[in-house]
Amino acid sequence: MRPTSCAAPTHTSLVYDGDRAYATEAGGFLRAGLEQGQRALVMAPPSRMELVAAELGADADAVVFVDEAVAYEPQWNAYRVLLDHLATTPDVRTRVVAEQVLARRGPAELVDYRRLESAANVVFAGRAVDLLCPYDAGALSDGLLDIALRAHDGLQLRGSVVPNADFRDPFEELASLAAVVPPPADATTLDCSDESDVALVRRTVRALGSRDGLDQGVVDDLEVAVSEVLTNALLHGSPPTLVHLYEEAEMWVCHVQDGGGLPVDPLAGVVPPIEPSDHGYGLWLARQLVAAVDVGSDLTGTHVRLHVRMPG
């Protein structure tokens, strides 16, 4: 018999209505894995973790629970939690229940979450993992429930998985989510065509971020993220290299634009380099440091937008 860890990974959504349905479906999914000697990871809000724990009883001791407020802060950290978990026991298959509170997310973060869900189909190919993503039918708008349909090739219904006809090819979906948004006319724009300008951008981000009341920790992380993205633009893009700073939909945006170069891999920096490397960490680091990252290119060049939350 083939070891279960070799079977293809699965990425399934569960559209649930009410606590009872959630506990039965998510609990049943995890129990089936535990009974086969598999591992279990739950990234979810506390109320959901409690439902799973109650449903599994003593079996819950074998489950690793991570509060979604930690796992999804920022959203791409969920990949890191997952990859770290898989790395500890690469030969044992893992069942994962992954759900965050989408209601607290702004528009830019929700677009990024669509990318995160679609990219998971590619990123975790070849991994010994089964992902179940619950979506709360009672709380979420049709627009958000739409993510459940587009990004998962299976739907869990009453304990079994059925193929999902609405599943979209991840690369098509990621391309459709990569539209370039030009900077507004009133943006502060810095010309950064020299390597010594990266330090000047950090100073400007610090000064303007503090002026606009961003948290100190947010500014610290944004300085690292913009340095990484700007360095990529200087080393791999073409001039002119510009940094635009502006506010958009409750977010403070740091927008790096260069004249363009090689086509941008839609999965660049979604996961860190597999082997330790001298480079290739920039976009990964940016996604671990800010609330949302848009990457796109068109005739105006390559655009990377780093979003952080405004206070209040």
Binding site: E195, R202, V224, S227, P272, W284
Partner: protein
């Protein structure tokens, strides 16, 4: 190569090894400033510096440098060497220019043996004509020095007080150099100074795409002498992922028994280490 003024500090930081620069200034105070810029930027970039000047001029340089970096430490570790003109060229002048060239060669070799990536020399030239016998001999030496320095990868600035020159001599001297040294002093965003005990490097300021190669070459030079070394990062206010990733690679490539210790690691560096997951048994991060 003629260095412009507005990019002067960046250019001096990553000065192409073997560049032969000249300064022609009308007074000692401005020559002091050019010397301090050249020596300060060179030390910050991790190179060994030799300042050929009088005792008073050396004292003035150390005072001026101390605004930006620990000049006392640079003197103690031998990263900053000083010498009188007689000490550098021999008390009764060199027997011939080949003897001077041999001295240069020895000093460049010694710099690498002491764990520095390169040697830079700043020299007050005012008394050289007296020592060599004539201004023609000085010009002949300068001509020889351009090729020699390129060959040895030693950069220098030759500091001339134009009040002591005759008409036309300044232009003749300038022609024998690759360019003019800047006389503005913009502090570099980071300083990379050698430390002897424990063997390693003290890093202060911001390390990014503009200067990380300077840190890496100093660490490699130190590691070539002793593969167990410590980086004091307490004064680091920024370091990008590539800076850290390359340090990991350097640690991983150390010979068996080697170790690169990151000491007094600030939060901004810990964050990058944590998020990249970079680590290696030969890279030790002090708690």
């Amino acid at each position: 190569m003629i260095l412009g003024a507005h990019r002067a500090s960046a250019d001096l930081g990553s000065l192409e090894p073997g560049t032969h620069l000249c300064a022609l200034e009308p007074d000692a105070a401005r020559l002091d400033r050019v010397a301090a810029t050249f020596v300060g930027q060179g030390l910050a970039a991790g190179d060994q510096l030799l300042y050929v000047a009088s005792e008073d001029q050396v004292d003035g340089l150390v005072r001026s440098l101390s605004r930006h970096l620990d000049a006392g430490q640079a003197l103690a570790t031998g990263q900053l060497l000083t010498s009188s003109l007689e000490g550098a060229y021999g008390p009764s002048g060199p027997v011939d220019l080949d003897a001077v060239a041999d001295g240069f060669r020895l000093a460049a070799h010694q710099a690498q043996k002491c764990g520095f990536p390169g040697l830079r020399v700043a020299a007050r030239m005012d008394d050289l004509a007296g020592l060599l016998g004539s201004m023609d001999e000085v010009v002949a030496w300068e001509r020889k020095a351009t090729d020699l320095q390129r060959d040895l990868q030693v950069s220098s600035v030759c500091l001339y007080d134009t009040h002591l020159l005759e008409a036309g001599q300044g232009a003749t001297l300038a022609r024998e150099h690759d360019g003019m040294a800047p006389d503005i002093d913009v502090a570099p965003i980071a300083t990379f100074l050698a430390v002897d005990d424990p063997w390693g490097v003290q890093v202060r300021g911001e390390v990014d795409v503009s200067n990380r190669h300077l840190l890496h070459r100093l660490v490699l030079s130190r590691a070539a002498v002793t593969p167990r070394l410590r980086l004091d990062l307490e004064g680091v206010t920024f370091a990008d992922a590539c800076t850290i990733a390359r340090l990991r690679s350097i640690a991983a490539a150390l010979p068996e028994g080697g170790q690169l210790v990151l000491a007094r690691v600030p939060a901004v560096v810990r964050r990058v280490l944590e998020l990249t997951g970079l680590g290696h048994p030969q890279l030790r991060v002090e708690p």
